[in-house]
Subunit: 345 residues, 2 copies
Amino acid sequence: MSTIKDVAKEAKVSIATVSLVVHKHNRISAETSKRVNKAIKKLNYHPSRSGRRLVSQKTGNIGFILTDDHFLRSEPFYTRIFLGTEFEARNYEYYILLTTIPSNYDVKDHPPRFILEKNVDGVIIAGKVPVSIISQIEKYNLPIAFVDFYPPSNEYPVVLIDNISGGMAATQFLIKKNHKNIGFIAGDIGHPSIYDRFRGYKMAMDYAGLDFSELNYIVDENYTARENGYNAVKKLLEINNDITAIFACNDAMAIGVVQFLNEKGISIPNDISVIGFDDVEADLSLDPPLSSVRVPKYEMGIEVMKLMADLLKNKDATKKKILVSVELIDRGSVMDLTLKIPMPA
Amino acid sequence: MSTIKDVAKEAKVSIATVSLVVHKHNRISAETSKRVNKAIKKLNYHPSRSGRRLVSQKTGNIGFILTDDHFLRSEPFYTRIFLGTEFEARNYEYYILLTTIPSNYDVKDHPPRFILEKNVDGVIIAGKVPVSIISQIEKYNLPIAFVDFYPPSNEYPVVLIDNISGGMAATQFLIKKNHKNIGFIAGDIGHPSIYDRFRGYKMAMDYAGLDFSELNYIVDENYTARENGYNAVKKLLEINNDITAIFACNDAMAIGVVQFLNEKGISIPNDISVIGFDDVEADLSLDPPLSSVRVPKYEMGIEVMKLMADLLKNKDATKKKILVSVELIDRGSVMDLTLKIPMPA
DNA sequence: TAAAATAAGTTAAACGTTTAACCCAAATTA
DNA sequence: TAATTTGGGTTAAACGTTTAACTTATTTTA
């Protein structure tokens, strides 16, 4: 493979000239430029990263950090975000180095190797991580951007899901189908995303002038997995059997809801409508497939990369917060009550 | 951040000595070593990749290539492989640079940027890729290893699924449960993996002394998606209604089979048993969940990284082929006919 | 016409390592 | 004792770029 020296020799110029041509510096005349470019093509020259890195003190790499937990999640949520980031990184000529950290990362632990070896120009943190890793990275004075995580300070650019409007959209979809007794099922309500979905639900009910009682329509569990959805809907229906529609705070819980209703012979959507949030793969294989609120994971990855690129160009770039919009996906697990023939009394 | 110079000054030795200590070269006395190591700790020194790369002519990176198609697959098959590779790479102090190429990659197209920029020491290719990309990479004289793809020559280390034994295992599992009329459903039989699963099926039937007629038990479609499974089982049951168990060549088709049987009110596993191959997430949300043959994607990623590390150490390393074993996962979609009470005639 | 500005290129230092070649003192050998 | 080996380190070149500072020739200005 040819180096800048080979090109210089071929074009009969100094290596500096070659470099200047490559960087389209205007000090070089058009003819020389042409001659050099011809040599570059002839020798199939591409500047080597290794040389460039050393002198420019830039690696051309971005670190992408997430926890083992998230890394090993069965639903490929963060994986998708990563793929979006990787794709967008090409537009900026960056490479992404992905690594995971233990979810119980401690200040005593080594920071990721790419930080120690100065092998990244910036770091993207995806999902919830221990604060200790953040303070570690701050020590190395690296630009940081977050995606799907509320960072501990306002200093950082961040990409978040617009959970409030998603919660509203799901609820309003049910309201438009003439549902009035709408249950909301939450797991860990302390989680910011879940809480915001709940807020969206409340706002939508409020705007529509629909009454709701927290006692009847919210059921708390500590986690948001399938079994919690199963248990939650069970409790909810025990204390309120007028419910015609259920909005589960995420698809994992929604699937638990579906399992419970199936077992009890309660037909979806004929007896009870169900809508979830996240739009994961598993939704498609339910019968009927689950209506849900799509979270654009790939696009989130793209957005956070854009923020990072901004930040690298201009360290004082505004620390933007981006809320990505969600989209309602109707797959038939919601019944339109307007069309339903009323049962004889 | 401190450099080798800072350490040298601190320890009052030359930078060469620091380097030799870092590399545990035996030319340095124990005392000097200790002094240098103390300085290294004090200054929190870690050799910079950029410096090291340039002189060693090694990047410390491995390229990971797959096609857009595979990259965007809804089932995270190659993603899992990638994650395994990334994880294992840490043990060898390598980073993985992931990139995709168009599935219609042409010789005229640019090779991935990390190749042009000499930013990788070797390349791992995952899944089926156009041969043109392989010959392109060969030009750059980079070590290549394959995973889940039969490379066009014997020159390369490769990690493959042991499809034949998987096909046998699935079939033998059905045979053990006393099934005798076992249908096999294949999509694209021209695909090496599918064909090998079919061979496993045939061998198992043969060993068990069970007769089978290709006309009755094989149904061809061009693809292996859900709708093909749906269509295939429909045709299969039209020409043969003695079948008590169906082995679908992959889970996507198996899910199509399940959908068809559900629609027709044919109970799984009471009327017909079903087993798939791949063990994808969606299997769990079926009712009953699908029994399948688990493919250890993560482990495949690990294995291919090991082969790559071997290859980088020793360019003449044996070009091993590794067949990773699969594992039968029983989730209740198969009925044990031995226990079934015979219907009164 | 002399001085100043400009255009177009070159020189050389620097980035942070690794490592072959070298050096010197002390120990060993003949 | 003189020559040789060994141990323990240092010197300096090299890797492939970028870029500030410099040079030289030409053009512009006063």
